[in-house]
Amino acid sequence: MGPSVSVGAKNSHSVLEDRPGAEPDLAALSERFEWQSVLFAPEPERGALLRLKAKWPLSARRIRFHRNHGIESALSVLRPFLEYAGIEPQFVVSDYDDSLSFSTVDPADVEVIWLDLTRFTDRLSPEGVASWLGARVAALRARTDAPVLVLDWDGPMAAASEFAEQFRECTEPLGGVRLAERRELFEDLGEYYFDEGRVSVTGTRMSRQGAVGTARLLGSRWLPALLEPRLRAVVVDLDNTLYDGVLAEDGGEGVLLTEAHAELQRDLLTLRTSGLFLGLVSRNDPADVQELFRTRADFPLHWGDFSAHSIGWQLKSAGVERIAQALRIDTGAILFVDDNAGELLETLQRVPRLRCLHAGQDADRTVSCLRYFPGLWAFEGTVEDTLRIADTRANEERERALAVAADDVASYYRELGVRLTVDHNREQRLPRIAELSRKTNQFNLALQRYGESELRSHMAAGKWELSTARLEDRLTDSGVVAMSVAERQGSKLLVHELCISCRALGRQLEDLIVAQMLVSGRIFAGTSEVTFPLLDGPRNQPARTWLSQLTGTSLPSAQETVQVFVQPQRLVEASVNPHVSIAIL
């Protein structure tokens, strides 16, 4: 069973009465809920989309489109989807260019290839188009390390998989190239995705419905997945969210699992399979909730599917915070789904970084919201995504074992059979190294965010040593939990970045992991000094504390990057732990 949070005293007063005198800006907080009905509608209305203007802080991102047909009718409606995801888009659009000459070279955060591929099919087979396109993307990759998103085959569907297979084969070695698959949209809209009869006016075969649907996939799935860290957990309420009814009033057998609620539960399971945690927050009696899941065999979701629970009469905000603590994740990485707008607002007031989704009475709409909510969808689950779920469960047992063995940590390591595997400069580790740099917020020193392509080019140039550490014990295989990026500069070793996944923290292995990644590398021998650049971030205190303990000094504030020096011998000493099995590949 996952970490469960204890139950507070029954509190029946209004959720907004806890802080007398507080004057919440409810209108501002609830504005995002109002956007839901427009963005996640079965067929979003163009006029309603254009009227949406974000009033919350956004991060500017430069998004460049290379195209050979009209894009404007999609770009206008793409903006609100990106704003909802927290992105202020700065669109840069090429001239119509069938040859993909990439005449502009100024930097962008992402490059999008927006081609009508049927313009090539009178001369080339689908495989030929894929090969040509792969070569052009390789030319683009030579100019930029930014992620590249390529809209998929838009010719006859029979050739789609042939095209995709060939294109992936061509671009896989480049790193950071993703194919944007529209199969779901093609199936939904059928022939209405295209509008061949008005190309001379619109400049594109894409219909108005196709443009909105594609914009929604770009703005809510593909671009957030490339530009922002993925959310880590979905925390859901029970009553009128996972089913129709109120447990305390209707009883476990009385609450209704509609087909839409069943679909919602199945979608949550799919998200769990893709590597997201599920959490449960409910103002109910814990025994009633456990009984509900025990007796309702028709529920697709089971009690054990939730990695953390907070059931009781405390405020929802407290429940969400305790779940974040139990899962060791930031509240900004959680989506909270609840049918009660008042409780959502209360939670947002106290946990402002939280993402919230208002589950309306229509569960079908909640299903649609979850399918398009930015930050949930990912191009592909890494091995570590799925390992993470089991690993977090095991952490509870590890913590108990460590508490019992407080005076004898060696027995703790022996009991668990801890194994550490370190490797260096392995091509297949690059996606995970890039992912760790993007996702790690607690144990990272320099706050560097690397793209796969950037890592690949530095590694190929022989400048950087990219190291990873994999952790296993008898409870779980935690997968690759740490990485370092180091460079030899004369007699000194410069550690550009160092990241350890938060789920590997708390096992008293940080010294060993870091030291092994650095000491076992080929560029460590003969080092006279090791330098760690340190930059204070909003949440990287654990890394700063670790470095402070390693150096035995109090480190200065690092609002700007400071260089922290460590004697190589200190790392050599830390690289030894006779109770842990260590392998260097």
């Binding site: 163009r46 006029g47 254009l50 404007e72 009718s73 001379s200 400049g203 108005r208």
Partner: protein, 81 residues
Amino acid sequence: MKTADTERTTVRQILQTALDTPLEGIANPTRDEIERWDSLTHVEIVFMLEERFDVRFSEEEIVALHSLADIVALLREKHAA
């Protein structure tokens, strides 16, 4: 008459949204008068009209639309048909 007024008001709102420009005081906005009403925005307006009024314009009709009055007249024609 009331329906016709409502239709005209809705078209005006669509023009304002697409053009991102207030149109108060302009009885019959035209493409020649409004700088922002370029070919790209014209397509945007056409899409919004089709969506709102559940109609479809041909290429020839799209090209022939030059003003609010043109749009309202064409919508009436289509609804009467």
